[in-house]
């Protein structure tokens, strides 16, 4: 379990995140939603020790973040940011193998190789294992990066906009794989996500943010609510149930 209490971050006297609290339990897929500039990515960076917080506390497995040794923490917590520009040519397999670094320090054992193969299998990218990253589409590259995080085999996984710029097929595959990690492997998975219907369809819990503050957090049915979403995004929402899933309609087209 990861517990955030009263986290704040300021840039030049402006709060990007203010007094945010949240819980990320194991076995649960949590989505963080909200408009641009709501502080979603900053919250995720603070929870995953990529950014320092100005106030508040992050407690990971009953131990405050500042008491964790970074190398030790890397065996328990993995995080993937949205833009990954790499200055070096890697094959998919080489990239995924980096996920084992916290465990093997660069010397891969037979077990490491097994986990790497499994991670690639999990995202169904074994067939491109020996291709170079710069020969792949954006979606395939993102799958490779997620496979690296999967190979790291941590209890806590943070992904910042994993669906950014991806087509529908890759998005569905990635969300399915992430959900599988939470439900079948008992990991705490946290994703920042822009597409509200992906969040509604796959997540167990949702944290809704606006202007740096957590407006609402709870089970998906509590947050995917016309009043809540209309308030957060400042446009009217209509929500319908389609085959047991809540789908949001927000495309207000006056010419129709």
């Amino acid at each position: 379990m990861i517990k955030l209490s009263g986290l704040s971050k300021k840039y030049n006297d402006n709060f990007v995140v203010q007094d945010a609290s949240a819980l990320f339990p194991k076995g649960v897929l949590t989505s963080i939603i909200g408009p641009n500039g709501a502080g979603k990515s900053t919250l995720l960076s603070m929870a995953s020790r990529l950014t320092n917080s100005d106030a508040g506390e992050v407690v990971i497995a009953d131990k405050p973040l500042n008491q964790w040794d970074n190398a030790e923490l890397a065996k328990r917590l993995a995080v993937l940011r949205q833009s990954n520009n790499i200055n070096m040519r890697f094959t998919v397999r080489e990239l995924v193998a980096f996920g084992r670094f916290p465990h093997s320090q660069g010397r891969l054992s037979a077990r490491d190789n097994e986990i790497i193969d499994k991670a690639m299998g999990h995202l169904d990218i074994q067939h491109i294992a020996n291709r170079y990253l710069d020969q792949l589409s954006g979606g395939q590259r993102q799958m490779a990066f997620i496979a690296m995080v999967v190979a790291q085999d941590t209890d806590y996984i943070f992904l910042d906009e994993p669906l950014n710029n991806l087509d529908i097929k890759h998005s569905v595959e990635i969300m399915g794989a992430i959900q599988h990690l939470a439900h079948e492997h008992g990991k705490a998975v946290v994703v920042v996500i822009h597409d509200i219907n992906f969040a509604a369809s796959y997540s167990d819990r949702i944290i809704a943010m606006k202007q740096g503050q957590v407006i609402k957090s709870g089970d998906t049915v509590e947050v995917i609510d016309e009043a809540v979403l209309s308030d957060i995004y400042e446009i009217p929402f209509t929500i319908r149930e389609v085959e047991g899933q809540r789908i949001c309609m927000y495309y207000t087209n006056p010419h129709k």
Partner: protein, 316 residues
């Protein structure tokens, strides 16, 4: 061709040129004299080649660029400036100037301190880009050169003699006393860099991914910068400043060896650097009869290559 095959071929070629260097014209009567002169020279070239290539390679990794090297950022001119200031402040007869080991230790300490503060500023401040670093390097480099120029104008000509040797790259008369003494700190730095090599591989993925994989990026960067400072001091103390050599070697190593692993790239870069320097020096001595120096050739070829890289905008 596999990378290991390439590395073996390169090492064999380097050993061949070393043998050519040491063995030319030796016979039973003159070998003591020739070897006593040639061994320090070859050793100095090998040490300098390794120091320059390793420091440039790891520097490019931690700054995440492929075009800047410590020399281009003014580390070499900093070294020369410190030498000049030591003569000006302490006098040309001071032990700080005359004793190679003392001089080397003091210079390295100052360089490490200054470079660490430059990089503390670079990494701890707001996100800086490559071009601001390049700009700062050029400004520092010309500042150091101007200070050097100013003091060489005003000091006594006899004092100038004391620093002249450190101001220009020279493979023809290397600092013999320093060569053997430099081996120990060099080996220590190389061992530490090899130990850090797997962590450096992870840095290719960028600071955020490296942090996620358990690397303390700031600590690693500071360690590397301290080691780079020592290596640059060794190289400059041994053969003087060679501005563009690191750039050529690292670039060629990357093109020749398609690998991300520093455990391979580091030895490969030193084999290549030693091969290039020794071959160049051999050509200068035997084909051109000492009419030019190899540093002129290096800076001409390297400078053109640097311009080409900038023109093709392959900065990242």
């Amino acid at each position: 061709m596999r990378n290991s095959t390439k590395l073996i071929l390169l090492s064999v070629a380097t050993l061949a040129i070393i043998a050519l260097f040491l063995g030319k014209g030796l016979d039973a009567y003159n070998y003591r004299f020739f070897l006593s002169r040639r061994i320090p020279k070859v050793l100095a070239i090998l040490l300098a080649a390794t120091a320059i290539s390793w420091s440039s390679l790891v520097f490019q990794t931690v700054t995440n660029n492929r075009i800047l090297t410590p020399s281009i950022l003014g580390f070499d001119s900093l070294y020369v400036m410190i030498q000049v200031l030591l003569v000006v402040l302490a006098g040309s007869l001071s032990p700080l100037v005359i004793q190679p080991m003392l001089n080397f230790s003091v210079t390295t300490a100052i360089m490490a301190g200054l470079s660490l503060s430059l990089f503390a500023w670079y990494f701890y401040g707001k996100q800086r880009d490559l071009f601001s670093l390049l700009l700062i390097g050029i400004i520092c480099s010309s500042l150091f050169s101007s200070v050097t120029g100013f003091f060489t104008m005003v000091i006594d000509p006899s004092e100038f003699m004391a620093i002249q040797a450190s101001m220009f790259a020279s493979f023809n008369n290397v600092n013999g006393a320093l060569v053997y003494w430099a081996i120990a700190p060099m080996l220590l730095c190389l061992a530490l860099l090899l130990k850090l090599a797997p962590k450096l591989d992870v840095l290719w993925l960028g600071p955020d991914n490296a942090t996620s994989l358990g690397i303390n990026v700031r600590k690693l960067t500071l360690q590397i910068m301290a080691l780079v400072s020592v290596l640059i001091s060794v190289a400059t103390a041994l053969v003087g400043p060679v501005l563009f050599f690191g750039l050529i070697v690292v670039s060629l190593t990357r093109q020749l060896f398609n690998s991300y692993q520093h455990r391979l790239l580091l030895p490969a870069s030193s084999a290549l650097a030693a091969f290039l320097l020794l071959t160049g020096q051999w050509i200068v001595e035997n084909l051109m009869a000492f009419e030019t120096t190899i540093s002129v050739i290096i800076n001409f070829v390297g400078g053109s290559y640097f311009l080409l890289l900038l023109a093709r905008n392959k900065v990242n």
